[in-house]
């Protein structure tokens, strides 16, 4: 096993979700999530979801003018617990670095909302929910979900919270896609949009990595077409999917820094295929801990939603973007090879050419796609300055 100090060091570079931090202090203290049952939606695929349950967290206070609400959209493996400590396991929220009093998304000023996505497995309706028709979990009877369906569920939640117009939608990776859908499909309900390390549509490379993950799950003998029971889940497949995914979130530099060619233990002559490199045991650990908190079917649904996402949906950029009112801060990371800066620039171009106000930053952060989950003063400053100056201009 890795020694604890080693684990802690890795911790500070992202993956808040997967590890328990003993001495982690959050300025927010313990934060709760709530569940709410809302009117169902019709999915893009035409399926009527009769019930919609949304798990969400709110931080800060909604202003009397209801103009300070920021929706934070989580990525593939995220959940509603965005910041503060989980009451049960005391894990910090996945964006605790960035969200809290005096932080870049300042909960003293803004009313922060974060909800688990539709199709997820952390409290919102998804393949693990009970199908009201059969009384058993949907599993793969759950309809296909899209990023736009996820946003439709968020719209229901924002309605429920009585907020006519969001001040901002913020998200990295898949969360960025959701923020973009808000700006395009609900133009009069969003003032500012911060898509981070994201794209308008997946490239074949991004689809390919997801497909490797899906195949790992679906070829696990325990998958059984998605109808597995709690004691025989395709955990092995999911762990492998997570391992592949995790590699794509890192960079050559961050792997070099984190692991180098460090050995877990020296190989013995009789060893056949042991894990002797730290990187191997780290990935295995990532896979195993992910399996405990994530549903394999959910992983399939969400990665498929990512792959089929197309912001423009065949429309010409100008037609699709024509109604956008939001002002944008778009951020990419130079070392992100999964969602490379070129994809963000394409997005910038599409928006700018339709006269949308877009500020674009390409940060030098060396940690690959994971960069948005890592403590980073340049990133924090940019986000907080943008939010504050936009909020000032709103009041003016």
């Amino acid at each position: 096993m890795q020694n604890p100090s080693e684990l802690n060091k890795n911790m500070l570079e992202g993956d808040l979700q997967d590890q328990v931090l003993k001495d982690y202090h959050s300025d927010l203290g313990i934060t709760q999530t709530h569940g709410v049952k809302l009117a169902g939606i019709r999915t893009q695929s035409g399926y009527d979801l009769k019930e919609l349950e949304v798990c969400y967290q709110t931080l800060g206070v909604l202003s009397p003018r209801k103009d300070n609400a920021i929706l934070i959209c989580h990525a593939l493996s995220g959940n509603a617990h965005v910041a503060g400590l989980d009451p049960q396991n005391r894990r910090p929220g996945w964006w605790d670095f960035h969200v809290g009093p005096g932080k870049s998304i300042d909960t003293d000023k803004f009313f922060v909302i974060c909800s688990n996505i539709l199709g997820g497995c952390n409290g919102s309706t998804g393949p693990t929910s009970i199908n009201p028709i059969t009384g058993r979990p949907y599993a793969t009877d759950f309809p296909p979900v899209t990023i736009r369906d996820m946003v439709a569920a968020q719209v229901r939640l924002v309605d429920f919270l009585g907020i006519p117009k969001l001040f901002a939608a913020v998200g990295g990776s898949m969360g960025g896609m959701q923020a973009l859908v808000w700006a395009l499909d609900y133009p009069d309900r969003l003032h500012a949009c911060i898509p981070i390390a994201t794209c308008m549509a997946h490239s074949p490379m991004q689809i390919a990595f997801n497909e490797v993950g899906r195949q790992a799950i679906m070829t696990d003998p325990n998958w059984r077409g998605g109808h597995y029971d709690d004691h025989h889940r395709p955990e092995h497949g999911l762990a492998v999917a997570r391992m592949v995914g995790h590699v794509t979130y890192l960079s050559e530099y961050s792997m070099h820094q984190k692991f180098g060619r460090k050995l877990q233990r020296p190989p013995r002559p009789e060893d056949l295929f042991p894990d002797f490199f730290s990187v191997e045991s780290y990935l295995k650990y990532q896979g195993e801990s992910f399996v405990k908190r994530f549903d394999p079917n959910s992983y399939l649904y969400i990665t498929k939603a990512l792959d089929r996402f197309d912001l423009l949906e065949g429309r010409h950029g100008r037609d699709a973007v024509r109604h956008v009112q939001a002002r944008f801060l778009i951020i990419s990371f130079e070392s992100d090879w999964l969602y490379p800066p070129s994809q963000s620039r394409e997005l910038v171009k599409t928006l700018k050419r339709s006269n949308v106000a877009v500020t674009y930053l390409n940060l030098e952060t060396p940690y690959g796609h994971d960069s948005f989950l890592i403590r980073n003063p340049d990133f924090s400053r940019a986000v907080s300055h943008f939010l504050n100056s936009e909020y000032r201009s709103l009041g003016a």
């Binding site: 002002r327 910038v348 171009k349 700018k352 000032r392």
Partner: protein, 202 residues
């Protein structure tokens, strides 16, 4: 000298026009332009720290290298494109002007005059590459790639099909009207495309 130059630019830009400031730095001038002229302005800046300062000022800024083109902007997206202070540092000035005239109607450029008398004298009497206040770095450290005079610049404009609508020259004492090519340290030009073929829309 630069204060006068910036004042002059502000005089040339009509109220409420659309302005793109290339190499906008920390955005101080763009901010001033927006406040005094109510222009709709945005900047392009390569340096991330400076771009972050622009965000702090509430400006719209694009972090990018103008040498890689201005692909993110459409045809005639702006009334004025500003290139203040970096023109002699740009690798292919002609290509950059084509891009600037694709995205904007008029272009404002400032540049250092390499034929200022102090520079001429230094070269003549010392035999060394000149180091002056407007050319502060020795030859091996200077960001300047092109060394040209006011006359050269005018000739260049004619050659590539650009018309100079307005110009102004400055030295440390103020505006220069008499014999600018000898006495001016900075040139400032308001340009319009004549026969210049703007770079193509993709």
């Amino acid at each position: 000298m630069y204060r006068l130059l910036y004042d002059q630019v502000i005089k040339w830009i009509p109220e409420k026009s659309r302005v793109l400031d290339l190499g906008t730095g920390d955005g101080a001038f763009l901010k001033r332009l927006i406040e005094t002229r109510q222009v709709r302005g945005e900047g392009v800046e390569k340096n991330g720290d400076l771009a972050a300062r622009c965000i702090e000022r509430g400006l719209v800024v694009h972090q990018g290298d103008i040498l890689e083109g201005l692909d993110q902007y459409g045809l005639n997206a702006f009334d004025y494109v500003l290139l203040l202070g970096t023109f002699q540092e740009l690798g292919d000035p002609e290509q950059i002007l084509r891009e600037a005239f694709r995205v904007g109607q008029r272009v404002v450029i400032s540049y250092s005059n390499f034929a200022h008398w102090r520079i001429r004298l230094q070269l003549l009497f010392t035999g060394h590459s000149p180091v002056t206040r407007s050319l502060p770095s020795p030859w091996y450290r200077t960001p300047n790639l092109h060394f040209f005079s006011i006359l050269d610049f005018q000739e260049f404009c004619q050659t590539i099909g650009i018309r100079e609508i307005e110009h102004a020259y400055f030295n440390q004492r103020g505006c220069v009207r008499w014999r600018p090519n000898l006495r001016g340290e900075l040139g400032l030009s308001l340009l319009e495309a004549n026969d210049l073929e703007p770079s193509r829309e993709d």
